[in-house]
Amino acid sequence: MDRNYHIFSDGCLERHNDTVRLVTLDDEKKYLPIEKAEAIYLHGQIDYNTRLISFLNKHGTALHIFGWKDYYAGSVMPKRGQTSGRTLVEQVRAYDSPAQRTDIARKFVDGSIHNMRANVSYYNSRGHDFDSELASLDAAGARLTETTAVEEIMGVEATARRAYYSTFDSILPDGFVFNGRRYNPPTNEVNSLISFGNSLVYANVVSGIRATALDPAVSFLHEPGERRYSLALDIADLFKPLLADRVTFRLLNRQQLTPADFETDLNSCLLTEHGRKTFSKAFEETLEQTVEHPRLNRKVSYQYLLRIEAYKLKKHLLTGEEYVPFKRWW
């Protein structure tokens, strides 16, 4: 499976002969195996030129840029291998049909609730008592069938997510307080990790969508184009519990991240470079983890699940065959 490369140092990324070379400020040179690169993540201050972009384009490698406070800053995506007017037409048609749009939006939230529940249920069987939170999640899921408008579906999602987040303070070790989701900028360590993790999920979904001819700005649950690639927001929600949240819990509970990995400012709390490195390493390991896929009859990586999700949505739009959202089955 194609890999992601994360660059934390400052310097210059360039095409050198037929490969990509990183030259850091202290003149150290490193080479990236471009043939295996799905995407390159830039976390430091990096100079690059058009020659590099053409080269990445040729290899279909995306460049995701991470800023400081808000983490995800943008992407330089390879030119599409194939565009499909019909796919876009069907995507917009589905968005424009209230019945079809709410159906897809409901599927996204149904899958999200299932995946949040999987995390809560895991910790419920490990010494925590989350019966009431599980009941809230189930109640939210049941309410979903009665919804008729996207705003209502959004409301159900918000209720479920609040119930889900309310378990975090018990799951996390002493010394780390979550106290509800805050972002722009994150106000404490846990929020900072969730923001960083979510932006990594998001960037990987952007890459997954690009493997299809789906338009990343036409979405169903979120308003289209409301914030950057809104279709990536729709799909990322399904995977945040599996990817971002589990990595956060694991790193804090095993004390692989400590308060020293954060920088606290006036009203923000951000990961240090070391903290980001630790997190993205654990995140990449998670993406490479595999699971037996019941219908494909082989093991697939978590990262590939993101691409499958884009395939599934595209297939639904083009054929009318049912879209079944990703629900953790193991």
Binding site: G81, S84, R295, K312
Partner: protein, 184 residues
């Protein structure tokens, strides 16, 4: 469009300068018609395949390298892409003889197209270079009928609003649409 025989329609539009795209049938469509009608439907909707698929990479490589000194690639009407041998026969190269029927129909369609649209009669040869096998293929009344039935069949499939449902076949495992088709 009502009640017009697809074969007649294809011939009329292929001979015309302003070609009706919806009646264009390519060689690969003939092949898919025999291998998998769902794959044909996906292809007709320009659903992209996984170009990194190992069977695709292998087939492309063999097609590009085998007999390169003796055959010439010719594209006609941007509809059929044939390889002409030194002796004037049309050659179709396939990696293996596992899917011989679909390959044969593809080649027969080329011969049919050359005869009825371009106006030249050719004979064909189907080659499996890795197995050192070759087979002569000729257009006869019987095989012409087979080609025309297949053209009608192709049109019937791609006119559908949704693809034929998935069914598991041995070829599924190496198909470039496998993950697209089987993820639900």
């Amino acid at each position: 469009m009502t009640d017009v025989d697809p074969v007649q329609r294809l011939l009329r539009t292929a001979r015309d300068d302003a070609r009706d795209e919806s009646f264009r049938v390519t060689g690969v469509m003939m092949q898919y018609y025999v291998v998998c009608k769902r794959e044909l439907w996906f292809h007709s909707r320009h659903i992209e395949i996984d170009r990194g698929n190992s069977a695709i990479v292998r087939g492309t490589h063999i097609d590009e390298t085998a007999y390169s000194d003796k055959r010439r690639h010719v594209s006609i009407d941007s509809t059929i892409a044939i390889d002409v041998l030194d002796d004037g026969r049309v050659m179709e190269v396939k990696p293996s003889s596992a899917l011989v029927e679909p390959a044969k129909l593809q080649l027969l369609y080329y011969l049919w197209y050359l005869k009825h649209v371009v106006g030249v009669e050719k004979s064909g040869v189907l080659a499996h270079p890795t197995e050192r096998k070759r087979e002569d293929v000729e257009l006869t009344d019987e095989t012409e009928q087979k080609v025309e039935d297949a053209i009608r069949g192709v049109h019937e499939i791609i006119a559908r609003g949704s693809p034929p449902p998935a069914s598991k076949k041995p070829v599924c495992d190496s198909c470039a649409y496998h993950d697209f088709c089987w993820s639900c």
